[in-house]
Symmetry: D2
Subunit: 428 residues, 4 copies
C-alpha cells in the first residue's frame, strides 16, 4: 500500500505521531512561553502550532474537502507565513503581539483540523494529495526544529535563564576530545541531489534537492569531526573577533555597526563569569564543554575561524560527496539531549549527521534544471535563493526521520540562533 512507509507505519499513524510530537515539544512550556517573539526570526511557539495546522487546512482541506468549513477566516491571514499566492499575511514582526487567539484556541484549532484530516486520510489519496500530506508532515518537522531554536532564543535571552528541559544527563560521556584529522577524497564527477521522479508516495525530498545532477569536484580533504568549543575559544583568545584580516567585509561591517552591549565576541549563548566560560543550553547553564562541537555560530564566524586556521569551509558538493556513504545516525532530537555532544569513538568522519548543522561555503541557489513545486507551494523554497548559504547534516534539534544526505538547509550568513557549527576543509 502506498500509504504505508518502509517501517510499516500507516500514513494516518504517521500523521498522528508527527502532530503529537509538536505538542510534546511544547509540553514543558508555560502558557506565556508560547507567545513571546524575542526577534523577528524567532516565532512564538503558539504561532508555530497554528501555522503548521494552517498548512494542512490551506493546502488539503480547503481545496480537496468539498464541504469543509473553514475554522476561522481570520486565521487565513494570521497564520500564513509567506505564501503570497494564498493571500495577505499578518506581519512577521508582530506575531508575538497576538495574545488572541489564545493557546487554548490554537489547540482547539488543531483538534478541529486533525479531525478533518483523519477523515481525509481514511479515504483514497491521489498522488497530489498524498504528496501534500507528506509535505505537510515534513513541514511540521521543520517547525519542530524551529520550536527548539526559538524556545532556546527566548529562554537564552531571558535574564532568568530558565531551563527548558530537566534532563541534565547526556547520551554520551564527555569525550576526551580527539585531534583534528582530515580525510581525503579524490576529485572527479559525482552525482548529487535527488531525482524528481523518486519523490512520490512517502519517499520525500524538497524541490530544492532536485534534480539529481553531475558535479565536478576537485580533490579535497575534510575534517573528521566538527570544530570544538575549545578550538573556537583559542580563536577568541588569539584576538579573532578584533582582527579585520580574518573577516569578510560584510561581516566586519556588521561587527563595527553593533552597539557595544550587543557586540559579538563569542558564540551566541556563551558568557564568561569569573574567568570561566559557560553556555546556556536547553538544559540550563552549563560550563563550556571544550571538546563538544562549537555551536550557534554564524557563517561569518565560521568563515573567520576557518581563515584563522588556514583552512576553509567545504562546498555543499564536497559535503554531499563525503556524506554519500555515511550512515544517517547521530545525536538527533530524539536523543533528548538537545545539545551537541562529544565526538564518539570510531574511525573516519564522525558526527556528519545530527549534533550541529554544518555551514558550507555554497550560496543557496537552484540546481541546474530546478523546478519549484507547483502553485503556491512553489514559494516553499525557491524564492529564498538569494543571499543565503547552505547548511548540511541536521542537528541535535532535527527529527531523525526528517534528514537526508541531500537535504539543503539555508540561512543568512549572519544567523546564529540555529544549532549551526563548523566542519573545516583543508585549503587546496
Amino acid at each position: 500500500m502506498i500509504n504505508v512507509n518502509s517501517s510499516g507505519e500507516s500514513l494516518g499513524a504517521r500523521y498522528l505521531a508527527v502532530r503529537q510530537q509538536s505538542l510534546d515539544i511544547c509540553e514543558p512550556l508555560e502558557i506565556e512561553d508560547h507567545l513571546v517573539q524575542p526577534m523577528d526570526d524567532a516565532s512564538p511557539p503558539k504561532w508555530h502550532l497554528a501555522h503548521v495546522t494552517w498548512f494542512f487546512e490551506t493546502f488539503l482541506l480547503k481545496p480537496f474537502v468539498s464541504d469543509y468549513k473553514v475554522y476561522d477566516d481570520a486565521y487565513e491571514v494570521l497564520f500564513n507565513s509567506y505564501y503570497n499566492g494564498v493571500g495577505e499575511q499578518h506581519p512577521r514582526s508582530k506575531r508575538g503581539l497576538l495574545s488572541r487567539p489564545t493557546l487554548v484556541d490554537i489547540l482547539d484549532y488543531r483538534r478541529y483540523v486533525d479531525e478533518h484530516m483523519r477523515r481525509l486520510l481514511e479515504g483514497d489519496l491521489d498522488q497530489d494529495r498524498l504528496f501534500r500530506v507528506v509535505l505537510g508532515l515534513h513541514h511540521e518537522q521543520q517547525h519542530q526544529e524551529l520550536l527548539y531554536t526559538d524556545i532556546k532564543y527566548n529562554f537564552g535571552n531571558n535574564p532568568l535563564l530558565p531551563p527548558y528541559s530537566e534532563i541534565h544527563g547526556r547520551d554520551r560521556p564527555a569525550g576526551e576530545g580527539r585531534s583534528l584529522d582530515f580525510v581525503a577524497y579524490e576529485g572527479g564527477i559525482y552525482e548529487i541531489g535527488v531525482n524528481p521522479e523518486s519523490i512520490s508516495g512517502l519517499n520525500f525530498a524538497f524541490d530544492n534537492e532536485s534534480p539529481r545532477h553531475e558535479v565536478l569536484v576537485g580533490d579535497f580533504a575534510i575534517a573528521d569531526r566538527p570544530a570544538t568549543n575549545g578550538e573556537f575559544l583559542a580563536f577568541m583568545n588569539d584576538g579573532g573577533y578584533e582582527r579585520p584580516e580574518l573577516w569578510l567585509s560584510d561581516a566586519w561591517g556588521l561587527l563595527k555597526r553593533q552597539r557595544p552591549e550587543a557586540r559579538w565576541g563569542c558564540p551566541l549563548y556563551w558568557f564568561e563569569r569569573d574567568g570561566e566560560w559557560f553556555e546556556y543550553t536547553l538544559r540550563g547553564v552549563e560550563p563550556l564543554a571544550m571538546s563538544n562541537p562549537v555551536c550557534h555560530v554564524s557563517a561569518y564566524e565560521a568563515d573567520a575561524f576557518a581563515r584563522w586556521k588556514g583552512m576553509r569551509l567545504p562546498t555543499e558538493q564536497e559535503w554531499e560527496v563525503m556524506a554519500s556513504d555515511i550512515e544517517i545516525d547521530g545525536n538527533f532530537a530524539e536523543s533528548g539531549t538537545l545539545h551537541p555532544g562529544p565526538v564518539p569513538a570510531g574511525r573516519g568522519v564522525q558526527q556528519v549527521f545530527g549534533d550541529v548543522w554544518e555551514w558550507t561555503a555554497s550560496s543557496y541557489s537552484a540546481y541546474p534544471g530546478f523546478k519549484p513545486f507547483a502553485g503556491a507551494l512553489g514559494e516553499y523554497n525557491g524564492k529564498f535563493m538569494a543571499n543565503q548559504l547552505v547548511l548540511r547534516g541536521g542537528s541535535c534539534a532535527t527529527p531523525r526521520s526528517h534528514i537526508r544526505r541531500t537535504y539543503r538547509n539555508f540561512f543568512y550568513p549572519k544567523d546564529r540562533w540555529q544549532f549551526s557549527g563548523i566542519r573545516l576543509a583543508a585549503a587546496e
Copy 2:
C-alpha cells in the same frame, strides 16, 4: 488617627482595596493578554502588576523592615521602571519578552509583599513611611489607568478586536448633543497648585503640583464641554489631515514621515467600513457616537483641530482657574463604562472631570520653587519636565479618588493611546 482618611477608611483597608483593584482590572484577561507589549510605551499588564509591587518592596520594605528578605534579587532590575537612583533597569522595550516570571509567579510576589506590607501597616508609621505608603497607592492607581490604556492598545491592534468588557450598557443615555458654548472668566491674579505643607498623612499631591503660587491670567473664555466626535469628523471631512497650514511643523513632519499603512487620518481606534465610522472601545467595536467627546487624539491633532476652528487650547493655568469651583464628579473608571460618554444635562461647564483628559497648551515644567521628592523618589516626576505637555481633569479610566483639581498629567504631544481629548478656548 492619622491612618484613617476622611471617609473613615483605615490605611490598611485602603491598601487592600487599591491592591485588589489592580487584580480586578486584570480579571477578564487571558494569561497571554498579561504579557504582550505592542509598543514601547505600553507595558504588559503582568509587568504593571509586578512593578507596583516592586515599588512597595523597594521604597518601604527594603529600607524600613530590618529582617525583610527580598523576594527575588532579579526582580530589582526586571521591575524597576526608570529609577536610576535604585539601579539598573531591564530595557523598557523588552518588557513584553519576559515570559518568565510567569503571571503565577507575579501573583505569588504580590501576595508575599502584601503580607509584609500588612505587618508594616499594623505598626506605627512615621510621616516618611506614611507618605511612602500613600504615594505607593497613588502610584498604583496611575498604573491602573495605564492597565486600561495598555490593554486597549493591545486589543485595539489585534486583528480580532476582542472586547475587554462585556458591559455594553452605558451609564447615561446617548445624548442629543448640545451646541458648543463658551464660558467667560475674568483675568487677574489667581493661585494654583498645592501647598507642600498640606501634603501629609492621607492628604496627597504629587511634587509637581507644588508649590501653590500666584499666576497672572488674562480674560479668557473656555468651552462648556469637550469637542465631540462629530466636530472632529467635520474637521476630517474638511481635509484637516491634508492641510499643512493647520499643523505645527513637528506634527506635519511626523505625518509626512509616517508610512502609508500607519498614516494618521483619524483618531486612534477609528475606522471606516462601508461609509460608516466605527471605533474600537474596551466594550468592542461600536458605531461612532457623534455627540460623545472625541478621544485618543494627540496634542498635535488637538492643536490642528483648534486652529481649524479658529480657537486654541487653554493653558493649564486657565484650566485650573476654570476648575476651581467645579465639583470633582463625572465618568471615572468606577462607572465601568470605560469610554467617554455624552455631555450630561445641566448648565455651565460640563465634563471637566472624567471622560477624557484635556490637552492644554502648557509645556510640562516646574512651578516656581518646585522641589522634587527626596532621594530616588525625586525621579518620579521632575526628570520628565522636557518636551511634554500637561493634560488635566482625568478620564473614564482614572480612579475617582486619584484625581485633584491641581493634578498634572503629562504626555508627549504625539501620544494618542491615553484617553486624551480636547476642550477648546476662545482665541483672544
Copy 3:
C-alpha cells in the same frame, strides 16, 4: 521719509549693505565649502545665499512686480525652506547634494534679484511692501548667523580642522575671570514683548515677540555673567556626564542611545590632547580659555550643569525683566572675533547681549493673543511652537542690528551647534 532709518540710512542702502554682508561672510570660503551639509540642520552656505534671495523674489517681486520674470522655475522648489503655503520643497536633508545650480549660478541669481529689488526700492512702498522688505532683511541676518554656525559645523567636523578666519587677535584681552555673583530682582507684574502696532516702517520685530503683555514674576536672582568654560570643566571632572540624577530623562535617554564614538562628554568642539583641553573655533584650534563663557552646549547640558550647581536656568520672562535696562552692546558678529570672549570689567550684569545665546527654561510658545504674520509668512515662526526652548540675547555671530531685548530665538533642547551658553539663576 519712511524709508530712512534712525541712523539716516536709506532702505535701499540698508538693503545693499545687508545683502553685501552675506557675500562678505562667504568670502573666505572655497567653492567646495559652499556646498557641504554635514547634518540636516546645517544648510550649505550656497543654499543660504540662494534661499534669502528666493525670499525677496517670492514675497516681493512675484506678487508685486507685474512684469517680473521668474529667474528659474526650479528655484521655487529648490530654495523654499519650509513654506507649505508657497508650495513643494526640495528635501532639507538633500540640500548638500545640489552641486547644481553652482555657486556661480547662485551669484548670478542674487544679482538678478538685487537689480529688480533696486528698482522696487526706488519706488514708493506701501506698508505691506515696506514690511516685507524689512522682514526680508532681518531674515537674511538670521541666515548670516546660520552661515557662521553652519560653516563652523562643517570645518569643526572636518578632520583637517581648517580655520575660517585668520584673525587670531581678540577684541578684549583674556580676562582674569571673575567670581560668579547674583543680582537680585524684585518680583511683581512686568510687561514684556512688543506692541504689534509699533512694528511698522523700519521698526521691526517678529510676530512671536508680540503682543506686549503683563507677566507675573516672583523675586529672582540671576548670574552677573555667563557660566565659564572653567566652571563647565569642573562639572565634567565631577562626573557630570555619567550621573543620571543630574539629567532630564529625555537627555539621559539620548546619552545612552548615542554610539560610543559620538557620545557627549564635553561641549561640541572641545577635545582633549595630552591632558590639555582645546576647542575648535572659527579662528582654528585654540587652548580652552577657562574664563570665557562656555558655548555650544545643549539645553540638556545647561540644565544638568545648573542642577549640579544647585541652581536653575532663568525663565524668558525673568531674562527680559533683567535685560530691560541693559544697553544692547557687546561682542556681536561685527567684532570679528566670532567667539565668545572674557567678561568685561564693570559692575552689574555683564554679557547679556552678544557672546552666547542664553538658554532659558521656557518652552517656545505663543504669547497670549499671538497673531502670526498674514498668509504664507505666518509660517515664519508660529508653526515651530512645539518642543523647542527660548534662547535670549544674541551671540558673537549675531549681527548687532538684528537683536532686541524682546528677541526670542528658539532651538530644540538637544541642539548644540549654535553659539549657545548658560546664564544661571538662583534656585528659589
Copy 4:
C-alpha cells in the same frame, strides 16, 4: 623590455595615459560636482581622484622609495577606502562632507605623486613593483568607470537633470531591433579563469579570476543579444512590479519596505511624462530607445524579468564558455556614447562586451584554490565574497583595455547604479 606592452607602449607612457584619462573624465565637471555623494555607494569624483593616487603612494612610493616624503599624513586616512591592513579609514558615508582638501589640493597631490612615480618608473622594476604599478593602473581604470556611474547618479538625482556630455550623436544609428534568438552550447568540461602564473609583467588579471580550473557545464542556450528596453517595458506593463510570484523573497521584501516616493516601478533613471517614457542619460534626458539594451536594473529585477519570460539568468561559467571565442570589441567608454546602443548587425551572439554589464545567477565566491594577493592588497577582492553576484562583459563606461573574458565584476543584487543589464538563458 618587460616595461613595454604588446602595443609597444612603455609602462611610463601607459601610466601617464591612464592617469590623464581620470582627469579627462572630470573635465566637464564644475568644482561642486566633484564633491557630492548622493548615496554611500557613490563616492565624490574628488575622492576618486585622490584615492587612486593614494593607492600608488601607499603601495609603491611609501614602501619602495627610501627618501619619499609623504604628501600629507591626514590623506592616509582620508583616502583609504577599505584597507584595514593599512590603517583607519575616514567613514565612507562622509566622503561627501570633505570640502577640504579642495579639488585644487587634490590636483596638487596628483602632480606630486605623479612626479615621484615618474622617477620610480624610470628605474628598474622588479616583479613585485611592476605588478603593483600595473595593478594600480587597473585599479584606476575601475575608478574611471565608477566616476561615470557616480557622476550619473549625482546628475540623475539632481532636479535640474544636467547633462554631463554634450555628445548627443551616437556611434551607431538606432537599430530596428531584432528578435530574440538563443544560441545553443553543448555541455561538458570546460576551463575557465586565469592561470596565476600568467599574471606577470603587463599581463594582468585580478586574483579573483584565478586559478584557471575545470568546470562541468550542462547543455545551455543563451540569448544572442541583451534584453531591451522594449522588452522590459512589456514586463512592467504586465504588472511585473506588482506580482510577488515573480520575485525573490528578499526582493519582494525590499519592494514592500520602500517608501512610496522611492518605490521601484521601472529601471533607475526612467520616468514617464504625458504617457511617454524617458530616461536620464549622461547626454541628458532622451526618449526611451526601445531596442536598446535595458540598463540600470538590479539583479532582483533581472531575475524577476527572467522568471516572467519563463527563462533564467546564465551562470558565470556558462557566460565564460559563451564568451570564449568572442572578440573583445564593442561599445566601451572610448566610444564616448556613455550609453548602451542598439544591437549591431551581424550573426551570432552580440554585445557580449561593452554596452551593459550582464548579471549572472552566480554568487561571487572563490574559485577552487583561490589565493588572494599578498599583504594588505589581499583585501582588494577576496573579502567581498559574500552576498554579491557576478556580472560579466563590461559596459559603455568600462575602458576597453580594462576588460577580459575572465573578468568578474561583483555587486549586491539590489544595486542599480552601475550600467547593469540582462542577458537571458533558456530554462533547462
